[in-house]
Each structure stands twice: as structure tokens, then as C-alpha cells.
Amino acid sequence: MPRSIKAKPAAPAAAANPAGHREHASFPPLVIAEIQRAAREGIYDIRGLGAKRRLPSFDDLIFLGASISRYPLEGYRERCATNVTIGARYAKKPIELKIPITIAGMSFGSLSANAKEALGRAASEMGTSTTTGDGGMTKEERRASKILVYQVLPSRYGHDPDHMRSCEAIEVVVGQGAKPGGGGMLLGLKVTERVAGMRTLPVGIDQRSACRHPDWTGPDDLEIKIAELREVTDWEKPIYVKVGATRVKYDVALAVKAGADAVVVDGMQGGTGATQDVFIEHVGIPTLPAVRQAVEALQELDMHRKVQLIVSGGIRTGADVAKALALGADAVSIGTAALMALNCNAPIFLEDYARLGTAPGYCHHCQTGRCPVGVTTQDRELEARLDPELAARRVRNYLSTMVLEAQTLARACGKSHLHNLEPEDLTALTVEAAAMAKVPLAGTDWVPGRGGA
């Protein structure tokens, strides 16, 4: 059994400090606990979800509602449209989404079949897309999803041209925000007979996915690869390129040059099913500066709104959606938040959280396959805790709420379409956010890094 499957003792000293002892700034209890864990086990910590550290985020931006200089729209009467078309650059059949929030790629294997089905159903009911993941397409998710984006990944596990032909769009995954430059992992307990069969792997191994595509390297090859995918699917499907946010300006420009119809930029808050903690916390840039850099790259190429930008990584609320769109994204994608709507970290089955050495609100043990709420597991008993119909309802409600929230903010700014939101509707609460999002610090005209006032 891989080490990280074992329940781990919670860091005892981290919990409380009733006597008011002086904490070491460089070696607080959590750091000490991690040093001692490493000393005990001799290998890095592997976990799920995304960066847990505090980062500059959309929370550091606020909207400037309309007043005398601009007028708002009536909150409950005047229309605020939310639709988005993706892929009109080259695809014969672009996809039409009713809402600008899509479900990100998460593998069957990492997620249970019930979780995949629930996401598919919810997305279909809301008129948006869901995405396959590392390990191929399942019948359940194809059936449940009206608009399904098929990922072409470095591992090519289960890659099937028939599946590619059956989907509505194709996403070439170069990287993801949780681990730009890293391949996937699926630890032994989740590599069940079905999962292993789909991936052509031995049952129970700790699966390590490739981090590079097997048949192309660099932007010039990518262009030829995309052309091949178009040839195989007769130029029908939109082709996305997904990158983890690092050198965003260059990567977005190169993806556009390589012929992408849409670019997906995943910030470092983006989640994972299993990755080294050091990778999650120390590689990639936050979503906030990534959006701005991606938009600038598109604008410089005169491709903004022609090549769609889909942003992901830590999107949680309608406010996040509205802010990402105001900065110039065409749509956002949610992964972790969708899992939370399914029940991830819900305060139920408390004893099973305890068995993993954690508690609701803190759990990131997707890698163990012992998900207490049946979302990230391949265990039949645990999976049965997630009723796909009820779970789909929750995700649908959540998506619906986010859309209503985003519309509320857009109407307050006088916008009849979410895409009419603009950077000028935003201001920053911190100097860092002002510099990263390139909007003025609240109450000033100051954008750090820009000349003038």
C-alpha cells in the first residue's frame, strides 16, 4: 500500500496554543510537523485540490457600480445575457453555451462514475459543457453530457478516435494550474480493474502520467498536431489548448499561433486529484495575473474575442465569474468548486474524515481514494454515498446561483451582457492586485507598473 493512503496523524501542536507560547516565524507548528513527516517517511507529500496558501485573488477586486456617470440596469427586469460561442475561428461546428461557466476536465478514475455523471447532467441542464480527463471517456459521461469536451492528454490513456469524433470539442492539455510542467498521478487504490482497463495499466499500480506529449514538442509541432486533430475530425470541432499559468503571455500567443480556437488558462489555485504538495504550492502563478496576461496576449495579436479565453483556477462565486469576465475572459471553468457542490468537504460521515486524519473543511485527501462523500473514489460503498441525481441538482443550483450573482453585478454596472463587463468596472483593494490585474488601486488612478499619476 502506498504510504500516502495511510491515515496520517493530524499535526497536534498546530491546533491550539492556549498558553500563548511564542511561535517561531520560520518554524511554526505546521512546518515542524511537515519536517518530521518527511523525516519519518522519506518521500514528498502527495495530495489533492489546489494551492492552499493565501494568494492575490479576485477577492482583492471590487466593482464600481453605476451612478451618475453611468446608469445601471433594472435588476429583475432588464435582460443581462450570458451566452457564449466558442470555436468560430476554424471549427465548422462552434459550440454555443448558455452560460459562461463550464465544468473543467477531471478524470474518471480520479472521480467516481457517479460524480462524472452528476457533473454531466448538471452541465447539460444548464446548457454548458463538461470535460473528460486523463483516462478517456466513459459511457456514463457521454450519455449525461450534451456538450462534452474531449481531452487529448500527454498520457493518451484510453485515447480513442471514435470518442474524439463523438465529442463536441477537443482540448489539447499541455498543463494544468496545480502542476504546470508535471504529469498526472493516480495512486494504487484508485487504479481499479475498470480504471486500469481503460488506461491499459496493471491493476493497483501507482500510475504516473507523462508530462510531455509523446508525439510533439514545442509550438511548431503543436501547430501540426492541431492540424492532425482537425483532419481526423474533418475540421468540425473547436480545438482548445489548455495551459497551466506560468509564462502566460508567451504560452497564449503560441497557442493562438498554433491554431487554437480557444485557450484555457488554469491558475495555480486550480485543483488536482493527486500531486506533490511542493508542486501545488510552489509552481505557477495565480489566476488573477494570468487572466490579464492572457487577455493582453490576445489583444496584441488582435485575437481577443476571436480566440476565446477560458479561465480557471479558484473560481468559486458569481463575483469571481464577473471579475474574470470583466478582465476579458470569455468564460470560466470550475473544478474544485463543482466537487464541493457535489459534497466535497461537506460535514457528513465525520468518522471517515477522522479516519483520514482530517475534518470537513480541511480535507484534500482525493489521492487516497477514500473520499468520505463518494466524489473522488473508486470504492463502491463510498461511491454509493453520492446519488447522481441529487448531486446533479446541487451542481445545477450552484451554477444557477453563480450566474444570478454575476448578472446582478453586471446589471449594477449597466451591462446587458456579461461580456460587456470591462476592466474599467473594477478597482483593486491591494497594491498587489492592482499591479497584477492592471486596474487602479481603489480611490486612486494609480496602476502600479504603469507610468503617470
Binding site: I43, G204, D206, P214, D215, E228
Partner: protein, 227 residues
């Protein structure tokens, strides 16, 4: 036989024509001339066609092939027959890197040499190379067979899973977790069968077999240096 000058018709029009053939088509024999290094030629086929390509092809010729038998009379660029599902793809000359990458079934025959990463991520395809293969061949190879009649470059079979490699010549070096394994009668007869299906003549007796030591299948602290 239907003859198509791909330089005149264009790759797009040719591929579309091949994709639109009905399952019971009578148009089964094709000769494609003037490929001149075109990419994605005859990619994504799913019909029992026999196609002869007269000349050199670029990237991804026969990519994701199902059913079709494609013969390239010339050399092939990178990603030949990538993710092949079934059918046969043969190159009379040499193939560039990543030949038959992540192939899941079918047979790929390279009469000449293959460059680096031949059979990378292979998932069930059988690959028979008349000449030599470059470095990192059969990297992370999951299933299927790679037969190399000549020599193999450095790091053969690095991080290999359950694929089986047969090499007739010398191996420069083996990658992590790849080891030599004994040749039994079962393996010899499988090898003979693969050579025969490829139409290549080589004495099975001189081949050695390589596969996974299965030491990297689960994370272990003691293997940290090999990861």
C-alpha cells in the same frame, strides 16, 4: 485502383473523401502520389482500405488509424501511425521520432530505421522495425510488442509497464526498471509470428527479450533515485 495526386487535390480534400466512404465501399484500393512530406495524410481512417503512398510523408501519417492498410513507399516524419487502433501501417524507408506513439492496436512495420521514442507510451500496438531504433524507445510502454531487428539506442524501455521488447542487435543501455528476461519457446514463437506478419526475415534465435522489472509500479522510498 483509384489514383489521387495529393499535391493537386490537397490533404484536406483527400482525407475528407476517405472519411466519407461508406462502410461497404467498393473503393478499397487507393494509390496516392506526390505526398511531398504532407502532414496528417490518411489520418483518422476507419474503413478496410488498402492505400499505397508513393513518396515521403510528413508528420502523423495514418494517425489514429482503424482498419486500413497503408503502405508508404518512402520515409515517414514524426508520429507515424500515432495512436493506431487497428490495421497495418508500413514504411519501406525510415521513420522519424515517436513512430506508433501510444498505439493501441494493429501493426506498424518500419523496414528501415526508426528514430528516437519509437513506441513511446504504446498501449497494445505491435511494432516491427527492420533496422535500428533511437534513444528512449518504448518509453513508458504499456502493452504490445516492439521488435527491433537491429540495435536499440540509449534508455530502451524506460519506465516500461507490460509491453514486451525483442532486440536482435545491441542495446546501448536500458532505461529505469527495464530488464532483460529469458527467451522461452512461448516468446520465440510470438516473435516468429510478429516477424512473419511483418514479412521480415530474421532469425528469432539471435533476439533477446526485455520487459519491466515492475519495481517502480508502486512508490517506494528506496527507489527515489530512479524516479
Amino acid at each position: 485502383m483509384i489514383e489521387v495526386d495529393v499535391e493537386a487535390l490537397g490533404v484536406r480534400a483527400l482525407n475528407e473523401r476517405l472519411h466519407r466512404l461508406p462502410p461497404d465501399t467498393n473503393e478499397r484500393l487507393w494509390k496516392i502520389t506526390n505526398p511531398k512530406g504532407a502532414h496528417a495524410l490518411a489520418a483518422g481512417l476507419d474503413r478496410p482500405l488498402t492505400i499505397e503512398i508513393e513518396g515521403h510523408v510528413g508528420y502523423y501519417c495514418g494517425g489514429m488509424n482503424k482498419q486500413a492498410e497503408i503502405t508508404i513507399r518512402g520515409h515517414a516524419g514524426p508520429g507515424l501511425a500515432e495512436n493506431i487502433m487497428s490495421g497495418v501501417i508500413r514504411v519501406t524507408g525510415n521513420a522519424s521520432q515517436s513512430a506508433a506513439a501510444s498505439g493501441r492496436g494493429g501493426l506498424v512495420v518500419i523496414d528501415g530505421d526508426a528514430s528516437s521514442r519509437c513506441g513511446i507510451s504504446m498501449k497494445g500496438v505491435d511494432i516491427v522495425v527492420g533496422g535500428c531504433v533511437g534513444h528512449m524507445s518504448a518509453f513508458m510502454a504499456q502493452a504490445g510488442h516492439l521488435v527491433v531487428c537491429g540495435n536499440a539506442g540509449a534508455h530502451l524501455g524506460d519506465s516500461i509497464y507490460e509491453a514486451v521488447i525483442y532486440v536482435g542487435g545491441d542495446v546501448e543501455s536500458l532505461g529505469s526498471d527495464c530488464i532483460e528476461k529469458p527467451m522461452t519457446d512461448v516468446h520465440r514463437s510470438k516473435l516468429e509470428q510478429l516477424l512473419a506478419s511483418a514479412g521480415l526475415r530474421a532469425r528469432a534465435e539471435r533476439f533477446r527479450r526485455f520487459g519491466s522489472a515492475r519495481q517502480l509500479y508502486n512508490f517506494k522510498v528506496d527507489h527515489a533515485a530512479q524516479y
